[in-house]
Symmetry: C2
Subunit: 153 residues, 2 copies
DNA sequence: TATTGTTATACTCTATAACTATA
DNA sequence: TATAGTTATAGAGTATAACAATA
């Protein structure tokens, strides 16, 4: 039984439990593989790189906003930001209107790291995608979008 | 701009780095969400359940084969199998031809647990998929298949 | 000697609870 | 009193290194 049938059966709804199952399994394995294949070009964890990526897009965010975005608890984000700050990838500053807040912004070093690492860190995965056809790439893009929505809902 | 455009551009190849990037990010977030949303119906971790699922399909495997399949190191698999054995979900027995090997097989309790948990543990995810259309489900199925292949390659 | 699995140990990531400082 | 973030602590999951038993 082929696992990648691109059928759009009329009763596709009945496939939902099966899709849920294979999706869950593949996500678990994929994430472990991605963690293993990661280049140790820098000392940043996957989570820290995700934070840096968010700051690359948004420039400056509060620690709480970062925690919410990455769906981790504040203490976990504190740790990641500590690590990033020690490495000179981000800087903290006190909020102006609300001085309880901590505003985290990305440094030039952080920016360079994001650019460099996006290339090198996605290189392995991109290499795995090289032989896919346009439809398969489109399926991955769609799936990524759906997963992103589900994960952050 | 929708993020899930099913375009099959002629130069889709140039999208590979971007697809790799969004796929990686969404996989990381999805896996965390799945871990969080998991029902604590039983005391089995996600990894242990994956092992049980493999044994559900294969009946009996060596510990080394399980470790290779789940892409963990042997000590990690030893731990998971210990846990599963303590719970009565699997049994160990010594290999017959090669007595260094440990053959792990699933018990009836393990089988029941797989069936029951596949339903309940995928329930949350399935619920998230309920509003998707047939094309989106097909995309997820295709993506899962590709990820499975990449993760186990 | 090489291989299969186990034990001992440590590391990473994450969480909850208790705390500090602002609001 | 409530909120933003930090510190302290614990737990889950994984890895590497050293070891035991068998090939």
């Amino acid at each position: 039984m082929p696992t990648a049938q691109p059928v759009s059966a009329p009763d596709a709804t009945s496939d939902i439990p099966e899709v849920a199952s294979v999706l869950r399994t593949s996500v678990m394995r994929m994430r472990r593989r991605l963690a293993n294949e990661r280049h140790p070009d820098n000392d940043l964890s996957l989570g820290s790189m995700a934070v840096l990526g968010a700051l690359y897009a948004c420039d400056e965010m509060t620690l709480g906003a970062l925690a919410a975005r990455e769906r981790v608890q504040p203490p976990s984000m504190t740790r990641m930001v500590n690590f990033l700050e020690e490495g000179g990838y981000v800087v903290r500053r006190q909020g102006e209107t609300d001085r309880r807040q901590v505003l985290v912004s990305i440094t030039d070093k952080g920016r360079r790291t994001v650019r460099k690492d996006r290339l090198s860190r996605d290189a392995w995965l991109a290499q795995q995608l090289v032989d896919l056809d346009a439809d398969e790439l489109a399926a991955l893009r769609t799936a990524a979008s759906i997963m992103e929505r589900i994960a952050t809902s």
